[in-house]
């Protein structure tokens, strides 16, 4: 096996693997920027994955499947927003509640509606004209399916929304100093509803990216804790879309590196190889000592204090 082959392989699959992390972590970034920690991402992903798969499977339309995932994610987000904004529930714990609910509910629905593992024909790879034909680069970057491109496109879009729009300004202020935002007539509740629902939608899409674009099956607990890694990546990325992208790529590429290490018969215990992405993520964070504070109001319910 030539080294180029391995490197192309690592980069290509790193990009693919990063896809669900990106959707989920960008969604979480919005939530956390506005001061809400959502630990229920994994549950939302599972429900999104199921909804997307089931609708695509029964209607044969991937677009409808994606729409279903979006809707289910939005509903989960809405519920989470109600619980954390109106009822001012502890965010971390209600997040764990939503995780358990999504984990159980997706499996229950799977059992009731499908009964067994099925497959769908997922979004096909889009070979981008010209770009996809560039020798090495084309193969790495421009021969993926549409949801992979979507995930990477989301990064600049999220950056733009957060930094260049009035909405981004409001989100930032609500996460840093909700009292100040409130005193200027910015509705803290409305902004948080928006970001939490958006987070839910993107988590749902993250799930669908697995079930109808990358893996094209649904199985119980198919995310296997991926949503928790996505939350961790938000911290890694210091609440910035580009940072999240860096984290997701690092984590995924090291994960794919460890798969290659096994294929190349590099003589280390498989467990050590599997640990690599987790260790490296921490190490990178230690080396690049982050000076960035978390949003000041993160996890704090807002109440005018009356």
């Amino acid at each position: 096996m030539t080294p180029e082959l391995v490197i192309i392989g690592i980069l290509t699959s790193g990009i693919r693997l990063a896809t669900p992390y990106l959707y989920a972590a960008i969604g979480e970034t919005f939530g956390q920027r506005s001061g809400v920690l959502n630990l229920g991402v994994d549950g939302q992903m599972l429900l999104g994955a199921f909804a997307g798969f089931y609708v695509a499977f029964t209607t044969g339309s991937l677009e409808l499947g994606l729409l279903a995932a979006i809707l289910v994610g939005a509903v989960m987000g809405l519920a989470m927003a109600f619980v954390t904004v109106n009822l001012q529930a502890e965010q971390g714990i209600s997040g764990i509640g939503f995780y358990l609910f999504g984990l159980g509910m997706s499996e229950l629905l799977f059992k009731m509606l499908l009964g067994t593992v099925e497959t769908v024909k997922g979004f096909p790879s889009l070979h981008i004209p010209f770009l996809g034909d560039i020798p090495v680069l084309g193969e790495i970057f421009f021969q993926h399916n549409v949801m992979v491109y979507g995930a990477f496109l989301l990064v600049p879009v999220a950056w733009f929304v957060l930094n260049k729009t009035t909405l981004g300004l409001k989100i930032h202020s609500v996460g840093e100093n909700p009292e100040a935002a409130d005193s200027l007539g910015v509705s803290v509740a409305r902004i948080r509803y928006f970001t939490i629902i958006l987070g839910g939608i993107l988590s749902g899409v993250a799930g669908a990216s697995l079930s109808i674009a990358l893996l094209n099956v649904f199985q119980q607990n198919m995310t296997s804790g991926l949503g928790f890694i996505a939350v961790a990546l938000v911290y890694f990325g210091a609440w910035r879309p580009w940072g999240v992208l860096a984290g997701a790529l690092l984590f995924s590429m090291v994960n794919s590196l460890q798969l290659w290490m096994q294929v190349l018969n590099i003589p280390i215990p498989t467990e050590i190889a599997i640990m690599l992405p987790y260790i490296l993520t921490i190490v990178v964070l230690v080396i690049t000592v982050s000076r960035v504070r978390s949003p000041s109001a993160l996890t704090k319910p807002f109440d005018r204090g009356e």
């Binding site: 699959s13 296997s224 798969l259």
Partner: protein, 340 residues
């Protein structure tokens, strides 16, 4: 020493399965009153009854036996699935036993310790567990059956076919953790492939999880990128890998349950576990009043392991012949699969 003494070479069922009618026969023999009572079976499974893998293989077998016996009136089946927490499983086992179930199957090698503890308290209940051959008879326990699968056998056959069909000479394997049943299957598979084509390269990837579908799929992609045109894998998370095989036109070999439905075009063959062989024998023994002490291995020879060929895939005759020869060799003992 801290380790319990392992089981002696327990008698392993050698003949093929008893005729199907035999377990059904009890209907005539027992007293009429007894007949009214359905035979009650409880099963505890680590995964779900629809995992297309290990758990489903046993549940399907139970359903088959139930059908043979005459449906729900004759045999009542209850199950606890998703019992990956050993502790919860132990509670379930004890509970089923105290509810008067005739046979409690703990379908996972992790449940052994719990059985060892619970079984003595319920001498009237029969227990079964796998995959192992340890019936705890050394500890004086008489009501535990044990069963396991020689999954290396079907693995070997799959390996023979895989090596014959691989044009690239590169084969990829996706496994969960390198232990137990999965490890046996992979060893058999590698042995079969290498025996058929000494130059074949078999790349093995252990992903460290039974549930991470995404990583299993990515492992398959890695194999494809490394040149593999034939893939196989074991445990429930491989459903993700099969999709990758299909997308890349690689062939797939399944094990535990039939995975043909997932990719009818590219699945060549599956090694299917048919535990009904074991269940039949256990039920017969229980009927005679023996509640345990026997260990069973499903093999190609006794029909517990079945090579299930996908009718939708046309296997070249010469390859089919090679496979049949491998099966025959394993059954007659001329092929010995090295598994350490």
């Amino acid at each position: 020493g801290g380790a319990p003494a392992e089981e002696p070479a327990a008698p392993v069922a050698e003949e093929p399965a008893a005729p199907a009618e035999e377990p059904a026969a009890p209907a005539e023999e027992p007293a009429a009153e007894e007949m009214m009572e359905a035979f009650k079976v409880a099963i505890i499974m680590p995964s779900s009854i629809t995992d297309l893998a290990f758990s489903q293989s046993m549940f399907d077998a139970l359903l088959a036996v139930q059908a043979e016996m005459g449906g729900e009136e004759a045999m009542e089946i209850v199950y606890s699935e998703g019992m990956f927490v050993v502790d919860d499983a132990a509670a379930a086992i004890r509970d089923y036993a105290s509810e008067g179930y005739n046979l409690v199957i703990a379908h996972g090698s992790q449940y052994g310790s719990s059985l060892q503890e619970i079984a003595p308290d319920f001498p009237e209940t029969s227990f079964a567990w796998g995959t192992t051959l340890n019936t705890f008879s050394d500890d004086g326990i008489t009501n535990v059956f044990a069963y396991e699968a020689n999954s290396q056998e079907g693995g070997y056959v799959n390996g023979v076919i895989a090596a014959s069909l691989s044009e690239a000479g590169v084969i990829g394997v996706v496994g969960p953790i390198e232990a137990g049943d999965a490890s046996l299957y992979v060893k058999g598979f590698v042995a079969g492939a290498e025996a058929t084509n000494p130059d074949v390269v078999v790349n093995v990837n252990w992903i460290g999880s039974f549930s991470d579908v995404a990583l299993a799929s990515e492992a398959a992609s890695t194999h494809v990128a490394a040149g593999a045109d034939v893939l196989t894998g074991t445990a429930q998370m491989v459903v993700g890998a099969i999709g990758v095989a299909e997308e890349n036109g690689a062939l797939w070999f399944g094990t535990q349950s039939s995975q043909t439905s997932l990719a009818p075009d590219i699945v060549v063959a599956n090694q299917v576990y048919d535990w009904s062989v074991v269940l039949d024998e256990i039920l017969a023994l229980i009927h005679e009043g023996t509640y345990g002490g026997e260990a069973y291995t499903i093999t190609l020879a006794n029909g517990g392991l079945v090579m299930d060929y996908n009718s939708g895939y046309t296997l070249p005759d010469d390859v089919k012949a090679l496979a049949d020869a491998a099966v025959a060799g394993i059954i007659d003992g001329s092929i010995v699969i090295p598994v350490e």
